[in-house]
């Protein structure tokens, strides 16, 4: 099965990095989350309700919608914060990328560990620019807002192609497809990683790979 891959690029000021990334990640996860499954007898299940919330950005003229799940928001903010710090400390040109990967687990026989098979990867390439005057910053606020609007439209367009999605699992298989650890929503299994790159696009020694969900424990 092929994994489809989408790449988005954003050029932002340093203080806009977090909000821009959160806007993109939350929009993707909004589409890739369902309510909690409740399995009943006879193999049927009911689905909980997903609430949504508007979030205004402080440094960008932009508002995005996210699922109403504080746990999910915290998890995303944590990794985006780490990315921002890594970007700042790298001292390079301010180039980095973050990947949101949706995967399925496939159980393997002992002694092999479970396989993680990605089926959709969203990559956001971030380019940090430094601006000198307040006027430039104000223009940047608006421009980045408009760019993010375009990105959201792109994301929605991809989502509505209705391409491959994992089959709805039975109760025993649900953890191979969905992340059932959150209290109020159930996104597809995902992991987020990021890299700081130099201008040539190769990863430098400060490549960091962080996993939100550690699925490779042997």
């Amino acid at each position: 099965m092929n994994c489809r891959s989408e790449v988005l690029e954003v050029s932002v000021e340093g203080r806009q990095v977090e909000e821009a990334l959160l806007a993109v990640l939350h929009t993707v996860l909004l589409h890739r989350s369902t309510g909690k499954f409740h399995y009943k007898k006879e193999g049927t299940y009911s689905i909980g309700t997903v609430g949504t919330q508007d979030v205004d950005c402080d440094f960008i003229d932009f508002t995005y919608v996210r699922v109403s799940s504080e746990e999910l928001d915290r998890a995303l903010r944590k990794v985006v914060g780490e990315f921002k710090d890594a970007l700042r400390n790298s001292g390079g040109d301010g180039l980095g990328q973050m990947s949101l990967e949706f995967y399925q687990k496939k159980k393997s026989r002992w002694p092999f560990s479970d396989e993680c098979i990605p089926w959709e990867v969203w990559t956001v390439k971030v380019h940090v620019v430094a601006l000198a005057t307040e006027q430039e910053r104000q223009i940047c606020r608006e421009k980045v807002g408009e760019k993010l609007c375009e990105k959201i439209i792109n994301i929605v367009e991809v989502m509505n192609r209705h391409e491959y999605l994992p089959k709805m699992p039975t109760q025993s298989e649900v953890d191979n497809v969905f992340d059932t650890g959150l209290r109020d929503v159930q996104p597809y299994l995902y992991k987020i990683s990021f890299q700081i790159t130099d201008a040539l696009g190769t990863s430098v020694t400060t490549t960091m790979r962080r996993l939100i969900k550690d699925t490779l424990a042997l």
């Binding site: 929009t27 909004l30 589409h31 369902t34 309510g35 909690k36 409740h38 009911s46 689905i47 909980g48 309700t49 997903v50 609430g51 949504t52 919330q53 508007d54 979030v55 205004d56 003229d61 508002t63 995005y64 919608v65 699922v67 109403s68 799940s69 609007c149 959201i152 439209i153 994301i155 929605v156 367009e157 989502m159 509505n160 209705h162 709805m168 209290r183 109020d184 929503v185």
Partner: protein, 550 residues
């Protein structure tokens, strides 16, 4: 061609499409209310949340949508359209967007109705939620209020895009194939907002009590009335009066929330609603009259709802922003982090800080960062004192180092002094002067000083002042030998202030100075041939030097 569809599936599909249309209208209109929307996730299904999404049902909107549909469903040639337009307080109106829910003939027979279609409709609604925040009308609708309002109109039938002006753009939200056709949801929006660009649409408080409920003459099949995207009960007066602050305060009783400003009121999603009690999540009062209303009004609006809007996510973002702005412009305001339950505090105003009428100020807990640290009022006074005393120090030390005769600043001088102000030199006051004229230097003797200086005079006494004592019976006091920090007076026998004044301007060119000597032009010319002869002797040296440079 519906032969393959079982009757149960057909019924389900019709139901899905109907409710999808109703939910679509709800999402669109709620996105243009001008407020942030917030609903809660629920892990246990309540059974009344269509498409597993918590989308409120505003009864008026549902009513309008049902009226427009009149029992029909979107079909080929019959689309459901939601028109969003803007109307200014002067009566000008302009269409901003048309959202269309259309059905075409392309069928997908293989698809499972009860499962795949349902889930895809749910996904489409999520996309609609995202897209409604992204079109230009969203930002306009967030700023609606005094100058303009956003209206919506639902009609069923043919899509009319004429009112969008030239060059409108379309964005497709998504499509879902069904056995009876493909549902498409799209939005056409105006990009030519020319008539608006000359106006300033600032955040202003929303108008209380205004009804926008009139028929617009349109050559459209449906003559449905326009409705405001903010809700009032019919029968309110149409005055543009703001409620007095006191009234609003009664509605918004103090109940502080410790939650950050972006959190909203969570409401339970049910098919029917209770009227919300006028409990709001904050009561930030800001000192400027206009701004005080913006929050009061948006909260008190909730109390007028016949049914729970639930979207009263009490625009906490706005007042916080204003408060922060206020802090920036009035740094002398005193704000103490309020405790839970919010006692408004009256800030101490410095004498020079102009302040608007309302003096009551309350703040959030420290998490919002919209307040300054508290400063006791006494520090302001000491600050002013120290400033002024510093200001007086400089003339003192100027005095100290230039004069042999020590004269205290602010000491009254005899009238028969020559003052430089009578001279025509610009900045004559500050030109380097001879000793005799120094007394009139305003740097030394600020003109208005004698009155203000008196409290300090008695307090200045010297300890080991350098240089001679005054010996002057006029002097009431002797100057302290004032040494500025880090100054060295062994290099040049002058202090910083004098040094700065002396060397502030480049020195006079010697050739322009008259007292260089009696050498006249004629003598200069005479000495030239001798100089030339000397140079000619050394011509070889000069040539060698030039060659080294090349």
């Amino acid at each position: 061609m519906e032969t393959d569809l079982s009757s149960q599936d057909r019924k389900d599909l019709d139901k899905f499409i109907k409710f999808f249309a109703l939910k679509t209208v709800q999402v669109i209109v709620q996105a243009r209310l001008g407020e942030k929307i917030c609903t809660r996730s629920s892990s246990s299904p309540t059974g009344s949340d269509w498409f597993n999404l918590a989308i409120k049902d505003i009864p008026e909107v549902t009513h309008e949508a049902k009226k427009a549909l009149a029992g029909q469903l979107p079909a080929v040639g019959r689309s459901m359209c939601v028109e969003i337009s803007l109307k200014t307080s002067e009566g000008d109106s302009m269409e901003l967007e048309i959202w269309c829910l259309e059905m075409n003939e392309k069928c997908d027979k293989e698809i499972k109705v009860s499962y795949t279609v349902y889930n895809r409709l749910s996904l489409l609604l999520k996309s609609l939620l995202a897209i409604t925040r992204v079109t230009p009308a969203y930002r306009l609708s967030r700023k609606q209020g005094h100058e303009y309002v956003i209206l919506y109109r639902i009609y069923f039938g043919e899509v009319q895009l004429n009112g969008l002006g030239e060059g409108f753009q379309t964005v497709r939200v998504g499509t879902v194939g069904t056995p009876v056709g493909t549902i498409t949801l799209s939005c056409a929006y105006r990009i030519n907002l020319a008539f608006m660009s000359t106006r300033q649409f600032e955040r202003t408080p929303p108008i209380m009590g205004i009804i926008i409920d009139h028929f617009v003459d349109r050559p459209y099949p449906s003559t449905s009335p326009m409705h405001p995207c903010n809700y009032r009960t019919a029968g309110e007066d149409t005055g543009l009066t703001y409620p007095s602050v006191e009234d609003s305060q009664e509605v918004c009783t103090t109940s502080f929330s410790t939650s950050p400003p972006t959190q909203c009121v969570f409401t339970v999603t049910k098919a029917h609603f209770q009227t919300p009690t006028p409990v709001v999540t904050d009561t930030l009062r800001v000192p400027m009259a206009g701004l005080a209303f913006s929050h009061q009004l948006s909260s008190s609006r909730l109390s007028y709802q016949p049914a729970a809007l639930g979207v009263g996510s009490a625009d906490l973002a706005y007042p916080v922003v204003f408060a922060a702005g206020l802090n920036a412009t009035h740094p002398h305001q005193l704000m103490v982090p309020g405790k839970e339950g919010g006692l408004p505090l009256a800030p101490n105003q410095p004498a020079h800080g102009a302040q608007a009428d309302q003096e009551r100020l309350a703040t959030y807990t420290p998490s919002d960062g919209a307040h300054c640290a508290a400063t006791p009022s006494s520090s302001e006074d000491t600050e002013t004192v120290s400033n002024s005393s510093e200001g007086r120090a400089s003339p003192n030390d100027v005095l100290e180092t230039i004069f042999v005769r020590k004269v205290g600043a602010f000491v009254n001088k005899p009238i028969n002094q020559v003052t430089l102000t009578s001279l025509d030199i610009p900045f004559a006051m500050f030109a380097p002067k001879n000793l005799e004229l120094e007394d009139a230097d305003p740097m030394v003797n600020p003109p208005d000083s004698p009155e203000t200086g008196s409290p300090l005079q008695g307090s200045l006494h010297s300890e080991g002042s350098s240089g001679g004592s005054s010996g002057n019976t006029h002097d009431d006091f002797v100057m302290i030998n004032f040494k500025p920090a880090f100054s060295k007076d062994d290099i040049l026998p002058m202090d910083l202030g004098t040094f700065y004044r002396e060397f502030q301007n480049p020195p006079q060119l010697s050739s322009l100075s008259i007292d260089i000597g009696a050498q006249s032009m004629a003598e200069d010319l005479d000495s030239l041939p001798e100089k030339l002869a000397v140079h000619e002797k050394n011509v070889r040296e000069f040539d060698a030097f030039v060659e080294t440079l090349q």
